[in-house]
Amino acid sequence: MSATISQSALRELVGGWIAQGKRVVGPRLVVSGVGAVREPPLDRGNESRIFYAPLESSEQLALEGFIHPANSMKEFLFPKHEELYGYRITGKGIELSEVEPLRAEQVLIAARPCDAAALPILDQVFNWDYKDELYNTKRQLTSIVTLACAAHDEACFCTSVGLAPDAERGSDAMLFDLGGSEYEVRCLTEKGKALFDGKLEASERVAGLLPGPEKRFDAEQVRAFVKDNFDSPFWPAQTLACLGCGACAYTCPTCHCFDIVDEGNIERGVRARNWDSCQFSMFTLHASGHNPRPNQPARQRQRIDHKFRIYPEKFGEILCTGCGNCTRHCPEGIGVLSVLTAL
């Protein structure tokens, strides 16, 4: 026995959430008009134009025909630019004004399991020594409905970091494509139950096992290697091609570094936080001019080190969900996967 929903009923439900004023975010085809976007080194069809984006209508929700959207879900909890507070210089004093966190209910629909699993991982770092109110407020008001993956590409490696195409972690409800425009729904939490309450039909059809990508590396071995090989020639040898952009970090569901900046003029402005990436040369540059990570190999090592040793040792979790976005988006074809498989 299982509970199912037809695609049309699902779209109707999504339309209902939108009508209730919820922000509904899901995979959506972004048509960019002029020109054409290149075919990437890895064949990824048209998915470079599928993005997680707010849906204005339920028809915009894309449910099949792509592996992973070009971005990750994190930006709807931890946006690329977020104002912390405003300031105004008044004579000799400074007036501060609070920025109210957005208090709208939000549903992330058809999230990939690798994106959903990233959220409990991020919860830890945003609630460790300082409870991040902006993140937490959005997190509490967010429900995540995950769509299990029926396909994967050669950049996918969720099985290597302990996840799977049907991993339930981080989801409030899960959808499984049964074919014939029908989905099995598994409600995993109260939030999930509330979303689908009264909308499901009982059915005999149960989703089969989903084939995951082959296991590509052993995370424990990676941890042991990075621990003992800080100065290994492996790093420069494997990362020479890295040009130091932030495409990997900014499309990663778990990368969460940010930089705090003041923007404004002599009279008023805002203090805001922006995404930052450990691959930028400025990331660790000291005011003295010294840079403890002076080159790209050191920065790539840091990325792997943080994901597979530092974060697990501190929080007991690998800071990677195997979504493969870093590999898909690296202009020079590097990414976590190619580094680790080389290892």
Binding site: V30, S32, G35, E39, D259, E263, E267, F280, H329
Partner: protein, 448 residues
């Protein structure tokens, strides 16, 4: 000049609109011209705020953008008449830059009726009065500049895709022709110790081969997209010793520009050119450099005829056919996705500054945030710093993880360079760089 002086509350602007005009003027001519207008008691509208700079050649194009951002409705840029420059040639340099910059602003969707250029000498108090009066009236009629960085309410119309459309059928997998020759050449170069490292294409992404026995890792197929010349500037690569670099005809143009800009010496590297039938990228459709021209050796041949010049601008035409506010709306929509990962900058062979202007924070010139303001400022800056230098390898567009068609901005400048100056970056290694040179014949029909 504070923001408060410039920006009136929105409600006031609607009811009683007084145009705000910012004038960037040179110290020696126009500023004195304006001064003369005052001392001779000539009346002109008080709507203009003057920003005095040493010379028009010193006017940073970012300032024009910035003026609009903080609420200017029109901008005036004015300096000495040709032949009259206090520094001999500052205004000639400025003139050439404006010719190019105007085209970029047009492509980005700025309202060009709001940007004015004049020559006003120290003796022309009357002209200053006339110009300011006229601009003020014209701006008053146009109303406040409200479409800046705005997405229009009109439904987003997908532009007809022209010129840039990928072939419906992917190129048949090719590889093999040339691949063996390439490996053989590189094996020889390494074995004879002519070079210490070969910068080439591997199965996925660039590889750096230092031993003759490793040349089997080199690949040559339709996925060899990257422009490898970007690696020549990197310290880690330089440390490996004298390089051989694998280039396609399009990549090779970057070498010509880099050499002209004294960034490399051809004696210090060995260039292995690959004749390329096209990689199926938009740029390949209009390519006319299928066979590298200056390489130390060329492997393979490509039997391809060059496309007509007009073909090169086709992708741009569909954008330029739109009215300005919609062009701006297009970019505002596209830039909304920009996350400022700077992949466009990092993959660019021409972006070799030790520290990019956008990374400078004392003071901050470009907002580092990925907001519409910060993104427009960044993309305009990036494109214009490549004016007359961009070789059209389209690496920025290929690298963009969110699929912004940055190529269009580059194309607008490439078109301007070709139409106004018959100049194509990297085609003639001897040609004088476009920016940095000037001619007395540069057109000035847009300057009053």
């Amino acid at each position: 000049m504070s923001e408060q002086n410039i920006v009136a509350p929105a409600s006031d602007r609607q009811e009683k609109f007084e145009p705000k005009i910012v004038a960037f003027v040179c110290n020696w001519c126009t500023y004195l011209g304006a001064d003369l207008a005052g001392t001779t008691r000539l009346e002109y509208p008080p709507n203009v705020r003057i920003v005095r700079l040493p010379c028009t050649g010193r006017i940073d194009f970012n300032l024009i953008i910035k003026a609009f951002e903080i609420g200017a409705d029109s901008v005036l840029v004015s300096g000495c008449h040709p032949g009259d420059c206090h520094y001999t040639s500052g205004n000639y340099h400025a003139r050439r830059r404006w010719i190019l910059f105007r085209e970029l602003l047009q492509a980005a969707g700025f309202e060009m009726e709001r940007i004015h250029f004049t020559w006003i000498s120290a003796a022309e108090g009357h002209k200053w009065q006339e110009v300011v009066t006229e601009i003020t009236e014209k701006t008053r009629q146009m109303g406040p500049y409200t479409s800046l960085y705005q997405v229009t309410d009109a439904p987003a119309q997908p532009l007809p895709v022209q010129g840039g459309e990928l072939p419906a059928v992917r190129l048949p997998d090719w590889g093999g022709e040339g691949e063996e020759g390439l490996r053989e050449t590189c094996r020889r170069l390494l074995a004879e110790d002519k070079v210490k490292v070969v910068i080439g294409y591997g199965k996925r992404g660039p590889v750096f081969i230092t031993r003759p026995e490793d040349v089997e890792r080199l690949a040559w197929n339709d996925q060899c997209l990257a422009n490898l010349t970007v690696y020549l500037k990197r310290k880690e690569i330089r440390a490996l010793g004298r390089p051989a670099i694998v280039v396609k005809g399009c990549d090779e143009r970057a070498l010509a520009v880099l050499e002209r800009e004294s960034q490399l010496d051809r004696k210090d590297l060995h260039v292995v050119g690959m004749a390329c039938p096209g990689m199926g990228e938009p740029k390949c459709e209009t390519c006319d450099v299928h066979v590298p021209r200056f390489a130390d050796e060329v492997i393979g041949e490509a039997d391809k005829s060059a496309a007509a010049t007009a073909e090169r601008w086709k992708a741009l035409e569909s954008l330029m056919a739109l009215p300005a506010p919609q062009r701006m709306s297009y970019w505002a929509t596209e830039f909304e996705r920009c996350v400022k990962c700077y992949a466009c900058r990092q993959v660019c062979p021409m972006c070799y500054c030790e520290r990019c202007l956008v990374d400078k924070n004392r003071p901050t010139e470009i907002d580092p945030s990925a907001t519409s303001k910060g993104n427009f400022a960044w993309h305009i800056l990036r494109a214009f710093h490549l004016a007359g230098r961009c070789v059209g390898c389209d690496e920025c567009t290929r690298a963009c993880p969110v699929g912004i068609d940055l190529r269009l901005l580059n194309l607008s400048l490439a078109k301007a360079a070709e139409e106004h100056f018959a100049y194509r970056a990297g085609m003639d290694p001897k040609a004088e760089p476009l920016i940095g040179a000037y001619s007395l014949q540069d057109k000035e029909n847009f300057i009053r």
